[in-house]
């Protein structure tokens, strides 16, 4: 099991690296969707199917659509400009990947001593009961946040109308 998990995690980090390093914004958006899809597989493997479905539909689907809409509504750089920017960025921040690897090795040297067990709140319940029954304040907050999201999407398409 652990070998397969390790393989999926490596693919996840490679997808995230491709997202961060790729030249075009569209490619980055696709890479982010791919990262979400791989994270979904990990969620399924770690006994969290409901969260996995949410991750796949919202993060891989909705958020990618939002990104592609935003990119298409703005005017991205031409290919030549994008290439020049990429080389300038790589030459300016060449040391950051080395720091990244260094921090990774540094973290692996630490011994984990904290006890990560959660305080006992109540008996283990079904996720639906927990979400709808015991976390009503969260749901209220979520509703308000969703309202903010709706207004944001209205602004998004209002801008498009103005541009046309």
């Amino acid at each position: 099991m652990q070998r397969l998990d390790l393989f999926i995690l490596i693919i996840l980090v490679l997808a995230a690296l491709w997202t961060a390093m790729s030249r075009g914004l569209i490619r980055s958006a696709i890479g982010l969707a791919l990262t979400s899809a791989i994270l979904t597989i990990i969620m399924f493997r770690l006994n969290s199917p409901l969260a996995a479905v949410f991750e796949l539909s919202v993060c891989s689907g909705l958020i990618s659509v939002l990104f592609v809409s935003t990119i298409s509504l703005t005017q991205p750089l031409t290919k030549e400009e994008a290439r020049q920017h990429m080389w300038a960025r790589l030459s300016r921040f060449w040391y950051l990947p080395i720091i990244l690897v260094g921090v990774g090795i540094f973290l692996s040297l630490f011994k984990l001593r904290q006890d990560l067990s959660m305080p006992v709140l109540q008996a283990q319940k079904d996720v639906r009961v927990l979400l709808w029954g015991t976390r009503q304040m969260d749901l209220l907050g979520q509703l308000l946040i969703l309202l903010a999201g709706v207004f944001a999407v209205i602004i998004l398409f209002k801008e498009k109308k103005n541009n046309e």
Binding site: V13, A16, A20, L46, S48, A51, L66, R89, L130, I145
Partner: protein
Amino acid sequence: MSREVLNLLWMFGIFASLLFIIGIYCILATYNLIRALIGIEIMIKAVTLLLIVAGYVTGRTALIQALVITTIVIEAVLVAVTAGVILGIHRHTGSLDTRKMRDE
């Protein structure tokens, strides 16, 4: 906590840290607003991964799934609101470059 579970936690913890660092790199190495938002998204993915593995290790997957669903909703709204703000900036400055936002 058994040795196998601890190893699993370690493995996921290291990869989540790497993912978080990639997100920070994505924000630091660019002047493009959309790419910075993508960096924030990668960082949120790292947090989600850690939450999921914590739920698996402690055996409280139901509680963690409720938390992760909340995180995903916040993530989606964050992207929608920030995309609106980015479009507003693009309309005013004609660019997505953060350097052109200075002294405007």
